[in-house]
């Protein structure tokens, strides 16, 4: 085999998972090279924005990176509410308990700022070890020698080999796919998150949310806002913006042929939000990304040979009811993977890193959080549609609402929302996301009388406001029939029915003697969310280093 440039450790991706892995490796003096496809770390990344520092976590960003919270995060978030919405009826619960459970701190973050801050430190730290951080490079696959994984191949550079490869390349990890550890087949395994960053003066935020400069709030939304699509909405306060977004089950978006941007608009224009917008709305950025559902896809053995997966790449994204914890688990996993390698190295057998990493995930209780046994046990029944129907019937009957009222009176509902046990069990059915909250709102809620007059931008303007450096198409349609790929026309967050400016467009072409409905694809407006990799028949890759969309907020 030809000799390639070699490092002790390669880390692919500089999100929270990659940054934590690289910092831990560098602390141990391991020669580490970090590869990031964005033109700047964070330029590809989106999250809703609540980063948890869990008390039980062995690694957190503030301990790995001094001053992280002061310099890279937005506001610490202390208050946490969920609004159950039925039309104008809204019932609000305070989720203080669940939010603060096992929480040392919780900050709202914007990923461009956070990740690029981390990247600067990572670069400094890894430089000391003889490595460093390279941006604008995309890893496009694994390098194998006689079937063994020995390194990575890249679009921009010659292949690089290493004793360990930590893939922290996020959701739609090309490395996890290449290693056969993940596939992108089943919409049930994913959520789709869509978000708008909305401009607001810090003083106005303080005033309208009733907080101080160094305080923040989180609001969650569920109920009948989203046309029956399973999922919910969120609003978090940043320093001088709000992050407002939605997270839905991808299978539900697909089945309902829902338009994600419209669902976001449903939230943005709901009367409840008038108290905060008061008729003013300036959107800084529209963004979207898939989110793995750890309950289904957290890989119990996320390694193969020298390759260790961390974070979203390994499916380690925990949706604990309305609480979304991905970044913190990515950090923990990154730290553990690095630690596993260092230990394997001290033992003189770097090949043992994967096994050690797996054991650590188990021992640190990470896996138990990601894939609760309770969920595994209840899922089979609670997601079947029969149970659902019975549930619906109960809720529609007068007894159902009396029951609810009673439960409400004794605070039982609020309690069960605040119970990690119940949240871990909550089945992913329409009932838990839409029907129950809607009934709660209907039965127990108070009426919102405000009128929300804001007009969020149209999709073409949202696309127009994004920054792109476009290259050759990075997604190929394998089958352009509407049956195979038509779902993408609606599910793609930058496409829509009857919209010529999106990625996926429905078209009718004349064939011999008939007409055929097909879809065409233009990847220029693509925000690389990963949705069509799952819901359409495509060959899906990320764009080359530095190409494609560039988020300024994230």
């Amino acid at each position: 085999m030809t000799k390639h440039e070699h490092y002790e450790a390669l880390v692919v991706g500089c999100g929270p998972g990659g940054a934590a892995a690289a910092a831990t490796l560098a602390n141990q003096g391991v020669e580490t090279l970090v590869l990031e496809r964005g033109t700047d770390a964070g330029s590809k990344n989106v999250s809703g924005g609540l980063l948890y520092g869990e008390k039980s976590a062995p690694y957190t960003l503030d301990t790995l990176f001094p001053n992280f919270r002061e310099e890279a995060a937005e506001r610490p978030v202390g208050e946490y509410y969920i609004h159950n919405v039925a039309g104008r009826q809204v019932k609000t619960f305070d989720l203080h308990d669940i939010h603060h459970r096992d929480t040392e701190w919780c900050d709202a973050v914007l990923r461009r700022k956070m990740d690029s801050w981390l990247a600067d430190r990572v670069h400094e730290m890894t430089r000391e070890t003889g490595g460093g951080l390279l941006t604008n490079v995309r890893v496009n696959g694994l390098l194998r020698d006689g079937g063994e994984i020995v390194g990575v191949t890249l679009d921009e550079l010659d292949p690089i080999t290493a004793d360990v490869i930590i893939a922290a390349d996020g959701v739609n990890s090309e490395l996890a796919r290449d290693a056969g550890l993940m596939d992108w087949e089943d919409p049930e395994d994913w959520f789709q998150g869509v978000k708008a960053v909305v401009e607001m003066d810090p003083e106005v935020i303080n005033e309208r949310f009733g907080i101080d400069d160094d305080e923040g709030v989180a609001h969650l939304f569920s109920g009948d806002l989203f046309d029956g699509v399973r999922g919910g909405g969120f609003l978090y306060t940043n320093d001088q913006t709000l992050s407002v977004g939605t997270v839905f089950h991808l299978d539900s978006i697909s089945e309902e042929q829902a338009e994600p941007h419209e669902l976001l608009d449903n939230l943005l224009t709901h009367p409840l939000l008038d108290q905060w917008f008061q008729g003013e709305y300036e959107e800084r950025e529209y963004a979207a990304k898939l989110v793995p559902d750890s309950k289904k896809v957290a890989h119990p053995s996320p390694h193969r040979g020298r390759l260790l997966l961390v974070g979203d790449a390994a499916g380690q994204m925990q949706a604990q009811g309305p609480i979304i914890k991905g970044m913190n688990h990515a950090v923990t996993a990154g730290g553990l993977a690095a630690e596993a390698f260092q230990e394997a190295k001290t033992r003189g057998d770097t090949n043992a890193a994967g096994e050690l990493y797996e054991r650590k995930l188990e021992e640190e209780g990470v896996l138990a959080k990601l894939r609760p046994k309770r969920y595994r046990a209840t899922r089979a029944v609670s997601e079947s549609s029969i149970v659902n129907k019975v549930g619906n019937a109960v809720l529609d009957s007068p007894v159902g609402s009396v029951g609810l009222k009673a439960a409400g009176k004794f605070g039982l509902l609020e309690k069960s929302f605040n119970s990690p046990f119940v949240l871990g069990m909550i089945p992913d059915t329409k009932m838990s996301y839409a029907v129950i909250p809607e009934r709660i709102g209907e039965v127990m809620g108070t009426r919102v009388t405000d009128d929300n007059t804001v007009e969020p931008p149209e999709l073409d303007d949202r696309i127009g406001d994004l920054t792109y450096d476009v290259d050759d198409p990075h997604i190929e349609l394998q089958d352009n029939s509407f049956e195979a790929s038509g779902t993408a026309v609606t599910a793609c967050p930058v496409s829509a029915e009857d919209f010529g400016g999106g990625c996926y467009r429905e078209e009718t072409i004349k064939t011999n003697g008939g007409q055929e409905k097909v879809v065409s694809l233009d990847t220029q407006p693509c925000v690389e969310c990963g949705t069509c990799a799952v819901v359409a028949d495509t060959h899906w890759e990320h764009p080359s280093g530095g190409k494609g969309v560039e988020y300024k907020q994230g």
């Binding site: 230990e343 073409d460 127009g464």
Partner: protein
């Protein structure tokens, strides 16, 4: 008793713990415990490694006050390597003499002092042994190459620039390189500060030249232009067999010109500097020529400058530990890792082997295009050499020139079609072409929406549906007198390619289409009906009237 008793822990848990401990004492105790217990190899290695690290850190002592008796010879060697102050070193030496007085330690300190003091006439030169003698067991592919070890202290002058041509014209990068060469050599010939690249000419104070090289068929016609762009002298070789770039004859000719060609102005061994364009052909030629001349090449450079350089590599200076200043060094920065890092390459003679010409290839566009000075004077020299037939064994049997592509700029009128043609894409394109045909200087443009659609076009219009007709952000930007947008919604990415047009006429069924906001005339209607009407009106000569009549704005 240390905080952690290793014998009570699994090795897996010990790794991170041990690596946190900074106290040597504690580590020693742990080591003792482990040795007294199970004495697991891995644990012992772990703790010993950590001990080494911790000890290493502790070594960072102030050399001036270091207690030498506590240090090993290796420690002292490491320490003095960092010290640049001879007085401090003398003091260390004295203290070692008064202390343990180890021979090894003293020689380390002395050699450091010597290397810092440098030229005191007593330096030990590395003895030169030709590689064939030094390593008799290896094969020496260059042993029979007279130039490799042959040339020492040769005579080198001038900056040679290979001026590539295409279709009988200089390519832009040739002009750019001439401009930069002129600038560099003007500075070089100026009396002044060597660190600024000013040497006042060669070693004897005579100015050196920029020599342009032209090879090809009929290239002598370009010689004057080379002078206008900065050459002092142009050497050309023309022959019809050189019409296309061919490795063998081009390399042979170039090497002959700059090494073997006898001319009164070329009384030197080889050029001092050779500059090539980093084009496809230039890359090939530069590598072949510099290889044949047994020198080096920095390819794909993104800057060039001449300066002196302090070098301490003994392979270059001939004396270990000594730094030496090299004059007139071409600095050749080039991107590594495809541009993620930069290195500056220097090509420097060794004591027993010269590395000249210092060669570089330059990325096109690196240097600004200079303004030609047609008054400039220079010498034009024809290179005479019989070109043997064997050099032309390779024959080009077929060649194709890629289309220049469609250039939409410069038209009076552009008719652009958008996804409004969806109902009958072929007819839509036909209508656009028919309308454009009514004008003298007009052409067809397209929105990206059409180009990325799954529309099927009949073969006679397919030739029009080409990416190069795309107007907009990722296509062409045009500003004709009249821009007709039919079935185009006016997305901002399309708009930036056409909104400088004098008059914009939009045809769209949707009165809310964005394009209306920046159109001078908006015709609400089906393009399949409106376009034929416009074409017809034009045939009759009253276009303006027709537009005014149907327009809503």
């Amino acid at each position: 008793m240390p905080e952690i008793d290793p014998t009570e822990h699994e090795i897996a848990d010990l790794g991170p713990e041990v690596n946190q401990i900074d106290d040597e004492q504690e580590l020693e105790e742990m080591l003792a415990l482990e040795k007294g217990g199970e004495a697991r190899d891995a644990v012992i290695t772990l703790i010993e490694n950590r001990l080494d690290d911790v000890a290493g850190e502790a070594e960072d002592v102030d050399p001036a006050g270091a207690d030498l008796t506590e240090m090993t010879i290796a420690d002292i060697a490491n320490m003095v390597r960092e010290v640049d102050d001879v007085d401090v070193l003398e003091d260390i030496l004295d203290r070692e003499q008064d202390g343990k007085d180890r021979k090894g330690a003293k020689s380390q300190i002395e050699s450091r002092i010597q290397s810092l003091e440098g030229d005191d006439g007593e330096e030990t030169e590395v003895e030169y042994v030709p590689p064939e003698e030094k390593y008799p067991d290896l094969d020496h592919p260059t042993a029979d190459k007279q130039y490799v070890e042959g040339t020492v202290d040769g005579d080198y002058r001038d900056m040679w620039v290979y001026c590539e041509t295409q279709q009988g014209q200089l390519v832009d990068v040739s002009r750019e390189m001439l401009g930069q060469a002129r600038h560099l050599m003007d500075t070089y010939n100026t009396e002044g500060d060597p660190s600024e690249g000013q040497y006042g000419g060669d070693e004897d104070g005579n100015p050196e030249e920029v020599v342009a090289v032209l090879i090809g068929d009929g290239v002598s016609e370009l010689a004057e232009e080379c002078i206008a762009y900065g050459a002092d002298r142009v050497v050309y070789h023309e022959d019809e067999r050189l019409e296309r770039f061919k490795h063998k004859p081009y390399t042979e000719i170039f090497c002959h010109m700059c090494r073997d060609f006898e001319a009164d102005w070329r009384e030197y061994h080889e050029p001092r500097y050779n500059i090539f364009p980093a084009t496809n052909n230039g890359r090939d030629l530069s590598a072949l020529v510099q290889g044949e001349l047994d020198s080096g090449l920095a390819s794909d450079c993104s800057d060039l400058y001449i300066e002196s350089a302090m070098i301490s590599n003994p392979a270059k200076t001939g004396t270990p530990g000594d730094s030496k200043e090299f004059d007139r060094i071409l600095h050749m920065p080039r991107p590594d890792f495809s541009g993620f890092e930069y290195s500056t390459i220097l090509c420097i003679d060794k004591p027993h082997r010269d590395f000249h010409p210092q060669g570089a290839s330059v990325i096109p566009g690196t240097f600004d295009m200079p303004d030609p000075d047609h008054e400039r004077e220079g010498e034009i020299v024809e290179h005479d050499l019989e070109l043997p037939d064997e050099w032309f064994d390779i024959e080009i049997v077929e060649s194709d020139r890629l289309d220049d592509g469609v250039d939409l700029t410069g038209n009076d009128v552009i008719v652009s079609m958008g996804r409004g043609i969806a109902d009958d894409p072929t007819r839509g394109i036909e209508l656009g072409v028919e309308l454009a045909d009514q004008f003298e200087e007009a052409d067809l443009g397209l929105s990206r929406g059409v180009l990325t659609a799954s529309y099927q076009f009949d073969s006679h219009v397919e030739q029009y549906v080409q990416m190069e007709r795309q107007i907009g952000e990722s296509g062409q930007e045009v500003e004709p007198d009249v821009y007709i947008a039919a079935g185009i919604s006016g997305a901002v990415q399309h708009k930036v390619g056409m909104d400088e047009s004098d008059t914009i006429i939009a045809i769209n069924t949707d009165t809310d289409a964005d394009i209306r906001d920046f159109s001078d005339y908006f015709i609400q209607g089906d393009l399949f009906e409106v376009l034929p009407q416009l074409t017809e009106a034009l045939e009759e000569g009253d276009f303006a009237e027709a537009v005014a009549e149907v327009s809503d704005d």
